[in-house]
Symmetry: none
Subunit: 205 residues, 4 copies
DNA sequence: GACTAAGCGAGACGGTACGTCGCGTCTTAAA
DNA sequence: TTTAAGACGCGACGTACCGTCTCGCTTAGTC
């Protein structure tokens, strides 16, 4: 039944017991099932019982790891976030900014990430503990990405030296989330380009 | 305010009988209780039974008017939105923009509106019907406010003529909501001023 | 408004108000609707709201006359009982007995009476007030019928002189109700004949 | 950490699965509570919520086993029926018949059985499914008892050979139920004796 | 090569809230 | 005065999922 003795599948295998592998397999089954259900029915209709049924993992086992539905959804979110690679370098800063915006838009609009975010945003906004984790694991990474980009842009002489990275992040991501969560306005292929073009006079040195 | 509006939702009838007054009183009790609970516990923890208990209105009566929790929350949201006045004129466009940002920040951070929004944003984002109503009743009003402001700014010669009102709205409100919902960054008194100052080169003619 | 001073339709007419006629019409509508619903859905599914809807009479009006569902059902029962004629004379006592049994069987099995009885028997059995009225209006009439029949039989010399009418009633009707309510055994055309034939040695002088 | 398997908490630990035992305890708690409430308030006032409160068993658990109030009441009825022993032998058939009648009367008039029967008779009469179960579990047993008794009586030479057991059952039980449900006539100690005495000429060989 | 212990499945359970049904009361307005 | 219309408080319904618990079974790694 269990074949791969030599876990070369990327599953973390510490010096500890071989139980780890079993744990990891269960983990994957749960997260995958959760992600699927999230995609199919939305966050509001996600149920632990459903996840248990879909994943073949006992409800008890799920509760052994995630204290609540939110915990579970958060785990899925973080699981997905980990897959998001950092921004690549581009020829000039403006292209990097457009790329950052477009990648974010695509992430929200085409992957499950968007669906999960829609379902979790209220929780993140309202639950301080969840908010803390979200900031540590997501917001701060994004801010770090933008900071690095801004630093490079300044040293390249393309961006004004007094630019505040946090404000830049707000101005790049805020419009995306506002449209995505509230206004519902479409974000087509040219959105990133237009946004950055609009902002360029404010950012340029 | 509790006068029946253009009759598009919670106030399904007219036929002005004496029952209307009773209806109206019940309506207020329900909406007030819902708003309070929404602010206290968030949408996820809002329960119709809780609303019934808090408002003194029977659960059945609530269900007679609102088919679901979403319906109820929506009614509260619209009830609150009606209280938000449009933006006032100011000496120059930049002041008007700062005022608009500051007013929005204050609305979100000091009134119940912010808590309600935190609780409802996931629902608005996920439920198409709710989204539609929210856009019709809130987003479009905000856009109209900004459009008027932009028009004035252009005719005053302060704003560039090709400015897109929707983009302006995104850039003014997006950062606020991003901070409010996700990043958790504080928005102090100078926030509006700094935001508008940053954006000025992009907006100015 | 149609006022008929000369109410000669059997409707009770006191001070000669036309209201009486209106009352009577309402009464009939309610009782008819109740009987129909009783037959269709059984007592357990009888609802005052249903009666109001079916009869076109306001719920309030029904409550003005019948304090409870039982009251209403009882009224229907009595209304039907009044339609049941007393037993006719026959050539000999045995034929009269067979006739009495057969008529009762037919009444229960083919008319609405049976369905109403099935629905009401629990209420009659459990509610002392209803039981009292049922006995006064139904049981006692049946006993009187049987008593008269027994008296005649004795004076004809066909029945033993010490026959207890109540016991006779029990032995004639008990089997019918037992089958009808509980055992579910069929009662075909020959049932009355067989029952009376079986009992004849016990009853004969 | 391993505590002795021998139950030290007062809970008996038998060979069976622990779940079974728990189930059984829950079952008893529910049936007992139901029977008590039935006795105290009658069938009409029996509520599943009441049973849950009285028994300490969660409402959901009750619904996991009994689909409806009737199901529950039926279970109580069958639970009681199982306790009713079959008729004992007596010196002669007539005594056995009297005993059968008297035992039935006592069962109906002094135990909870009567109360439950009063409450359920309408349901049994009206609901085909319930009727089927009732016949399988109760009526048929009673008929079997009487059949055996009649067989013995015939072979003893006390009863006529052509006696129909079903008719005998009707004549013995019908009067009891008729009085119990409808006529309300008392059934004192001598009732069985009088009934059998009346019927003797019809039954005797 | 049995022993130990962790991970797990199974599922009964107490509990909260759901959204619904029907009750019986009350108020108003029309006939 | 009687009725129709209908809002309302209320109690219970039967359901969905929650999160907890106890029970054995399986599966390593250890003695």
């Amino acid at each position: 039944m269990n074949i791969s003795k030599a876990g070369d599948d990327g599953t973390p295998r510490s010096a500890g017991s071989g139980h780890d592998e079993r744990r990891a397999r269960t983990q994957r089954a749960v997260l995958d099932a959760t992600r699927e259900l999230l995609a199919e029915n939305g966050f509001g209709n996600l149920t632990v019982e459903g996840v248990a049924a879909r994943s073949g993992v006992a409800k008890t086992t799920i509760y052994r790891r995630y204290r609540s539905k939110n915990d579970l959804a958060l785990a899925v979110l973080l699981d997905m976030v980990d897959e998001v690679s950092t921004q690549p370098y581009a020829a000039d800063t403006w292209s990097e900014l457009v790329s950052l915006v477009d990648r974010t838009v695509e992430l929200m609009c085409t992957s499950l990430m968007g669906l999960v975010m829609k379902g979790l945003v209220s929780e993140v906004a309202a639950d301080p503990e969840l908010a803390r984790v979200y900031r540590d694991r997501v917001v701060s990474h994004r801010l770090a990405d933008v900071s690095a980009l801004v630093e490079r842009g300044i040293s390249r002489g393309e961006l004004r030296a007094d630019l505040d990275s946090e404000m830049v992040t707000d101005l790049l991501l805020g419009p995306i989330y506002y449209r995505f969560f509230l206004s519902g306005a479409a974000m087509d292929d040219g959105f990133g380009q237009r946004l950055v073009t609009t902002l360029r006079p404010s950012f340029a040195s």
